[in-house]
């Protein structure tokens, strides 16, 4: 399953506005599929956001975060900074993305 990370990082009023949309089902382990079988727990439980290689934020989401997590943050910086995000799920899956501030 393709698990993409969509990013938009833009300068606004002197701050970088970072918006993320991470494609992930965020299963709570309580939902049943069509045949009535419980879908196993599968959610992102660790996200790291950094700017130019320096740690900015650590997020610890629970399974109660919506599917396809949307995140919005503001931070100091300038055009051309590199913002990166990496996540790990409770099943050990990983993904990351880098983007340049516009």
């Amino acid at each position: 399953m393709a698990k993409r990370i969509k990013v938009r990082a833009k300068m606004k009023k002197g701050l970088i506005e970072v918006k993320y949309k991470v494609t992930h089902p965020m299963e709570t382990g309580r939902r049943k599929d069509k045949s009535g079988v419980l879908v196993a727990e599968d959610y992102i439980n660790h996200i790291k956001i950094s700017k130019n290689g320096k740690d900015m934020l650590t997020l610890l989401p629970n399974s109660t975060i919506s599917a396809d997590p949307y995140l919005f943050f503001k931070m100091k910086g300038t055009k051309g900074d590199t913002i990166s995000l990496s996540w790990i799920s409770n099943t050990g899956e990983k993904n990351s993305a880098n983007t340049k501030v516009k």
Binding site: K54, L60, P61, S66, F73, M75
Partner: protein, 144 residues
């Protein structure tokens, strides 16, 4: 394996273990428990409400699987972390955000799931202590 390499392996293992510890401690309040217990576990029972912490949730959410939540603590100084709790959920703690740098504004916006009409609480850890703000959201169609 001689003594020197044995010690190296031992120490390496300890470092790995200790780096995992915060996550284990966290599991204490990330799991299934009552919201008030979770708040007490996070704050140690010492917290105060403040109007300078702004928590924005919709009064009525049509879709319980995607409820937008905004926490704005930019009026507070020395913000270390933000916790968000959805009281009626089986796992009340929805998210913990740790601010690692002063460059980041004490502001966060994301979406949570809600099973039924619920109280939502944001807890902000500052260098002085814990500050909370709450609001209520009604859900027409649950999603948890």
């Amino acid at each position: 394996m001689n003594r020197r390499s044995a010690i190296k392996v031992l120490f390496g293992g300890m470092v790995v273990l200790s780096s995992m510890l915060p996550l284990n401690a966290l599991a204490n309040f990330m799991g299934k428990l009552k919201a008030d217990d979770a708040i007490n576990k996070i704050t140690g029972g010492k917290h105060s409400e403040s109007s300078s912490l702004k928590l924005k949730t919709p009064k009525l959410a049509e879709n319980g699987t995607q409820v937008p939540v905004t926490v704005d603590a930019t009026a507070l100084t020395g913000v270390k972390s933000i916790f968000l709790l959805v009281h009626e959920n089986i796992k009340p703690v929805a998210m913990r955000i740790d601010f690692e740098s002063d460059d980041v504004a004490a502001f966060a916006s994301f979406r949570v799931k809600m099973g039924k009409p619920t109280k939502v609480t944001a807890i902000v850890q500052t260098s002085v202590g814990f500050v909370t703000a709450s609001s209520n959201t009604k859900v027409t169609k649950g999603g948890c």
